[in-house]
């Protein structure tokens, strides 16, 4: 379980200015085995919150705890073995093969001069299989499409939080706008993958997104972020209302249950004048 309590954060101010708070007292809970979505307009603090949850930023006040342990007390490697992050997009500085990229996920499991062994290779292959990318193993990462890259990076994340064979129960996956750069087909593919990883491997997943329908289809609970504070949080079908969408985006929207999709569907009607 990942818990954030009253997290406050501000980036260092420009010369002469004052630090503008980005997060002013955000609390949230990611229960083990659940998918939690973070929604909010641009500049609401989603990415900053995600970076505080994954430990790359330290909160100025408040704290984040993983299974009751404050992140500040965990070593980078210990944290990396239990929590993996997937950025919106990954550009490699040099050309690596897909299997090399996935094996980089094994970094926190190896000593400074240790080399990946057969066990690590088996874990990497299992992670590729879980994301349907085993066929790409020997391909150059740069030659893959955006959606294929996204799945390979998710595989690297799975390899990172895998212990013996598979990701342990209670390990976490943090996804930053995973569908932002993808076409409709790949968006649905990533949605299906997120649900599958959650159900089959009992991963806890945090996903920030602008895609309300993706969130409705994938997330158990939602946290709505506005100007650095939590506007509302709770079960997806309770929180996703026209009133909240209006408050977040200044947009009138129709929210309906879609029987065939099996989840709420949001239809934006127009921007409020």
């Amino acid at each position: 379980m990942l818990q954030a309590a009253d997290v406050r954060f501000a980036y260092r101010p420009e010369r002469g200015g004052t630090a503008k708070p980005v997060l002013s007292g955000v609390s949230l809970v990611v229960p083990t085995g659940r998918v939690v979505g973070i929604l909010g307009p641009n500049g609401s603090g989603k990415t900053t919150l995600l970076r505080i949850l994954n430990g790359t930023l330290r909160p100025l006040a408040g704290h984040v705890a993983l299974d009751g342990q404050d992140l500040a007390t965990l070593s980078r490697a210990a944290l990396a073995r239990r929590m993996a992050s997937v950025p919106q997009e990954t550009h490699l500085a040099f050309d690596y093969s897909v299997i090399e990229v996935v094996l980089m996920g094994r970094y926190p499991h190896l000593g400074a001069f240790e080399v990946e062994g057969p066990a690590d290779l088996a874990i990497a292959r299992r992670a590729l299989a879980a994301t349907g990318t085993l066929d790409f193993e020997a391909r150059s990462f740069d030659t893959l499409s955006g959606g294929e890259k996204q799945r390979v990076i998710i595989a690297a994340a799975l390899a990172q939080i895998s212990d013996e064979r598979e990701p342990r129960a209670g390990t976490l996956l943090l996804l930053d706008e995973p569908t932002a750069a993808l076409d409709l087909g790949y968006q649905l593919e990533v949605a299906a993958l997120v649900r599958e990883l959650n159900r089959q491997l009992s991963l806890s997943i945090v996903v920030s997104t602008h895609d309300l329908n993706f969130a409705a289809g994938v997330c158990d609970t939602l946290v709505l972020l506005r100007a650095g504070t939590v506007l509302a949080a709770g079960a997806a079908d309770v929180v996703l209302t026209p009133e909240h969408i209006r408050a977040l985006y200044d947009v009138d929207a129709d929210v309906q249950w879609h029987a065939q999709a099996g989840h709420l569907v949001v239809v934006p009607i127009g921007r409020r004048a």
Partner: protein, 330 residues
């Protein structure tokens, strides 16, 4: 697919054999032909063995200087490219060579007398000065190292030092100007083992750091944030990379002058052959860099014999077109 260990062994053996062959064969080339078997014959006393004297006293120091400078600049190039996440970075991108040039120039112009060590010591001090300024600037605005500030500060320092170099050169007389120019071209004519032994400890320490850096540089290829969430202390890795590669470059330049293009040609050729994993690229580049610069120096010594060209001219003649090809390569 071969494992990293198999690829490491194959690359080290292959490029190592090349480096050893170059080191043994290069001293045989020159205006006076010598015989390797006679030079290595232990039954003839050294004082009577002319071949051995030419081999060990006249030519081997220069060959070993090529090995030291070539391997150092090539592997420092790999580290800088990984640190800056930019395949077109060189060991000189961040101002190390410009600082070294200014130091060497001040020593030549104003006659610093430390025997043979005057110019190398001044050039090393100059490179450290430049590195210190760039490092301080890159840390000033952020907690960690900002690679953007590093690049901008390095490029600016290169321009600024070039202006200072012209300023100092204005006060030099003809003989000094000639020496300065020769130094700037890069020249491996060390004439004794002394400069090599002085630079060697620094290079050895830097290479140990490079060994530790191999895996962190792989992770940095993904981006700083992704590396951090995989458990890497990014700020520390960047610090170690910048300082070790800068000190190694400063030491190499103090021996051979700013020999250009080695730090970019060699890493790219090696990556084409062995892939991008730094655990293979770093040792392969170090060994191939040694062989490559020794080879270039043989060309420099023999192409227009009896005139000896500075080796920097040869590497630039090969490196310039190669660099352009890299830019437009499909």
């Amino acid at each position: 697919m071969k494992t990293v260990r198999q690829r490491f062994i194959a690359a080290t053996a292959g490029f190592g054999a090349l480096a050893v062959a170059a080191t043994v064969l290069a001293p045989l080339a020159g205006s006076t032909p010598i015989n390797l078997r006679r030079a290595l014959d232990p039954s003839v006393p050294f004082a009577d063995n002319v071949d051995a004297q030419i081999f060990f006293v006249a030519r081997l120091p220069r060959t070993l200087a090529g090995a030291l400078v070539g391997s150092t600049l090539a592997s420092a190039g790999v580290v800088f490219q990984g640190l800056l996440r930019n395949p077109l970075a060189t060991p000189f991108t961040l101002g190390v060579s410009a600082g070294a040039a200014l130091g060497a120039m001040l020593a030549i112009t104003f006659g610093l007398s430390l025997g043979w060590a005057g110019v190398p010591a001044a050039s090393f001090a100059g490179s450290l000065g430049a590195v210190g300024v760039v490092y301080g600037l890159a840390r000033a605005r952020h907690g960690g190292l900002s690679t953007n500030v590093l690049l901008l500060a390095g490029v600016t320092m290169n321009a600024f030092f070039s202006a200072l170099i012209l300023f100092v050169q204005y006060f030099a007389d003809y003989a000094e100007t000639y020496r300065i120019l020769r130094w700037l071209m890069g020249d491996l004519d060390v004439s004794s083992y002394q400069p090599l032994m002085t630079a060697l400890p620094l290079v050895v320490v830097a290479f140990l750091a490079f060994g530790w850096l191999a895996r962190p540089l792989n992770l940095l290829s993904l981006g700083a944030d992704s590396a951090e969430t995989r458990g890497l202390d990014v700020a520390r890795a960047q610090r170690v990379a910048f300082l070790s590669a800068s000190v190694a470059t400063g030491a190499a330049v103090s021996v051979g002058g700013p020999v250009g293009f080695i730090g970019i040609i060699v890493p790219h050729l090696v990556r084409l052959l062995v892939g991008s994993d730094h655990r293979v690229v770093l040792p392969a580049s170090a060994l191939f860099g040694a062989a490559f610069l020794i080879g270039c120096d043989v060309v420099a010594r023999t192409a227009m014999s009896p005139v000896e060209l500075p080796v920097g001219v040869i590497t630039a003649l090969i490196g310039g077109p190669f660099f352009l090809w890299l830019l437009v390569r499909p």
